[in-house]
């Protein structure tokens, strides 16, 4: 699936920048003593240092392992698991982290409504919480998930995309992301194992920012990313993020630490009067405004909300997730064929980088949107964002478990069979 050479180059660049040295910003934790090992040896460091500056080493690991390594350094309080392919591997790994003392509480819940409800409870209690799911599991939990943003509940949800039944299949396909786009939470879409590590770690910090206070979903394409190995560069295991600072968020915690208080921030607003309508309307506006405010932090910690390759090319590919990897290779092959093709990688689906996309594609004659799903949710987003949208070619699309040969993308570029 991957363009090994290019991925490697990118990672090399990243490591070579990491020469700042261990400028540890430790507020409370003492310097590690030699006898301490594992979780006990971890020091709290500034998020900027952990995410951007700490020296990194490369490892050849699966996406599930990359997620595990992010969680190891994320200072998670509680992780709640429920098995579903291809996600199970990750939450099992997180279970091992709990057994090793990296996470304070962990359990296998009854099913996804139970998981997503419990995450809502844990987040209201003010602790840092994590779960993961895939396909039908996401569908099952979506009533709860859609209520998290309104509850202003920071937490991280990893989504390892797969087919949504029926017919039953466990193959790669990211149609499920179309359902979560309008739930109100932040949705990041990683391209490869490296992104899965980087985005998962940054997700906690982005969602917990006072002006954001939202859940963050980090999606990757199942199997292609979760079960395949790739090079992932990561800092040492002995540093971690600061804990969640729940009293710095935009809503009070449900911990009854300040009685007397009549607090019910998710109170049913169903009285038929204009104050109720106004309240509900402004609450929804505020959730989506908070998404926009997250852009600053996405830009900072994900190295920009989009990545542009060959910015002046007349044909631009716009993609997210694993389709980006295939598009990178298609760009390389197109170059060999003497074609001028560029690429815009969308890292965040919510907030959607509308202005950035407009600017990156304004000069293009043709915009290609390859996707791993039937419905073409990204193409719809792109079409409703860019001007002169007759330029948008909504495809190629593969689904139900198919892989995406680069020839399909090249055919879309040239308009002829390759």
């Amino acid at each position: 699936m991957k363009d090994g050479v290019k991925v490697e180059e990118k990672l090399e660049q990243k490591t070579s920048k990491d020469k700042a040295g261990p400028q540890v910003v430790s507020e409370k934790a003492p310097a590690p003593q030699e006898e301490l090992k594992g979780a006990a040896a971890q020091r709290i460091v500034d998020p900027d240092y952990l995410i951007l500056e700490a020296p990194r080493k490369r490892e050849f690991i699966t996406g599930s392992e990359a997620a595990k390594e992010a969680i190891r350094r994320a200072n998670v309080d509680i992780a709640i698991a429920y098995p579903i392919t291809p996600q199970s591997e990750t939450m099992q790994q997180v279970g091992y982290l709990y057994a090793e003392g990296y996470i304070k509480d962990y359990y296998r819940a009854e099913e996804e409504i139970g998981v997503m409800g419990a995450i809502a409870g844990a987040s209201r209690a003010g602790v840092r919480s994590l779960t993961a799911t895939a396909g039908p599991g996401l569908m099952r939990g979506i009533e709860q998930i859609a209520s998290w943003p309104g509850g202003r509940l920071p937490s991280v949800l990893l989504i390892m995309c797969r087919v949504v039944n029926c017919p039953l299949a466990i193959q790669p396909d990211n149609v499920e992301l179309s359902y979560i786009l309008n739930c109100g939470g932040i949705v990041l879409h990683g391209e490869n194992q490296q992104d899965f590590y980087d985005y998962s770690l940054a997700a906690f910090m982005i969602g917990e920012k006072p002006e954001v206070t939202l859940p963050v979903a980090v999606a990757v394409d199942g199997f292609f990313v979760t079960h395949a190995r790739g090079w992932v560069s990561m800092p040492a295991e002995d540093i971690k993020l600061p804990p969640r600072n729940c009293y710095h968020e935009s809503v009070p915690m449900m911990d009854n630490e300040n009685p007397p208080i009549r607090i019910s921030r998710d109170a049913p607003i169903q009285k038929s009067n204009f104050i109720s309508y106004q309240m509900h309307a402004s609450w929804q506006q505020e959730v989506f405004a908070a998404q926009e405010r997250a852009k600053k932090w996405i830009n900072r910690w994900l190295g920009g909300i989009i990545e542009v390759v060959n910015p002046k090319a007349k044909t631009m590919i716009v993609a997210s997730g694993a389709a980006v990897s295939q598009s990178r290779e298609a760009v390389r092959q197109a170059e060999e064929m003497g074609l001028d093709v560029g690429l815009v990688k969308i890292k965040s689906l919510r907030p959607f980088p509308a202005q950035e996309l407009i600017e990156a594609t304004d000069h293009a004659d043709k915009i290609i949107v390859p996707e791993f799903n039937y419905v073409g949710w990204l193409a719809k987003e792109v079409k409703s964002t860019v001007g002169r949208n007759e330029r948008v070619f909504a495809g190629p699309r593969v689904f139900g478990g198919m892989s995406m040969p680069t020839e399909l993308i090249l055919e879309a570029i040239t308009g002829s069979n390759i």
Partner: protein, 293 residues
């Protein structure tokens, strides 16, 4: 944490709502108020939008009285009549989604335990028969199997009152209600039996006829949940609207139903019994010493 956490500046308190002032100066926090004191202090709930004569409202009022530390309690509910009153209480209230009360409570309780190691935080689920026995059934059962340390209180009015009178799993067999046009086909669900089977530490069945018993039962359930494991209280809180009980007759109905099929029952697990007997003995001993002094 104390009433000092948020302290109005001198001179400002006078301009805060009278209700807030009363809750600080003469409220139910940091002390166990008695049933005999009702009406003489500022209660956690006073105004509410419930129907006139609603037995559920009386029961909820008594629950607030019975909670052993109101200032460390968080209540979780769901769709239904009860939450109309619960949102008016001076205690944080979580309105989750349909049927996820015990799932949310599991996460909330575990989260609070992580953050507050020395101060017990009590989580109480209070929802209707539909919310707990029907749509929330799986979450209730699994929270019991997992031995989650919080109290579940079912406000059992044997009907979906808030949506206009539909049959629930807790409705008695044969009752004609909406969505049961020819009468309910199966027996009232035995949630008490299920609680016992799934290892609930303390289970009680109660009607709101004896306020002191309600208060004591609530207190017992919350304290046992804190130390031992899940507790369950199933309370008959009639719907006088859907069951057409004349308002002045609501308590007569409660007494009749109690006598007929809803008499007070309680069940302790061995561990809960041992804990409760021990803590009661300690309390009595402490009281005697206090009197001596």
């Amino acid at each position: 944490m104390s009433l000092e956490t948020i302290k109005p500046a001198p001179g400002f308190l006078d301009y805060l709502p009278k209700e807030y002032q009363d809750l600080i100066e003469d409220g139910p926090f940091f002390q166990q108020r008695k049933v005999s004191e009702l009406g003489s202090f500022k209660e956690a709930i006073e105004e509410h939008p419930m129907c006139a004569g609603c037995a559920m409202t009386l029961f909820i009022r008594l629950v607030y009285l019975g909670l052993p530390s109101l200032e460390h309690s968080v209540i979780i509910g769901t769709a239904g009549c009860g939450r109309l009153a619960l949102t008016q209480g001076a205690v944080p209230f979580v309105y989750g989604n349909y049927g996820d009360t015990n799932c949310v409570a599991s996460g909330l309780k575990r989260g609070l335990d992580i953050r507050f190691k020395d101060t017990p935080k009590d989580v109480i689920v209070m929802a209707g028969d539909g919310g707990l026995a029907d749509i929330g059934f799986h979450g209730v059962m699994h929270s019991w199997f997992r031995k989650e340390k919080f109290t579940t209180i079912m406000l059992d009015n044997e009907v979906y009152g808030n949506t206009g009178g539909q049959e629930s799993g807790m409705t008695q067999k044969g009752m004609i209600l909406k969505m049961a046009p020819t009468g309910k086909k199966f027996e009232k669900m035995d949630m008490l039996g299920l609680a016992k089977t799934s290892g609930v530490a303390y289970t009680a069945r109660i009607a709101p006829t004896n306020p002191t018993r309600v208060v004591n039962t609530i207190r017992k359930a919350v304290l046992i949940a804190r130390e031992v494991g899940p507790t369950y209280i199933q309370a008959y809180t009639s719907c006088n609207i859907e069951y057409a009980i004349p308002t002045p007759k609501v308590m007569d109905d409660a007494r009749d139903v109690e006598k007929d099929r809803y008499g007070f029952l309680e069940y302790f697990s061995d561990e809960a019994k041992e804990y409760w007997d021990r803590s009661e003995a300690e309390r009595k001993k402490a009281r005697k010493e206090q009197i001596k002094q």
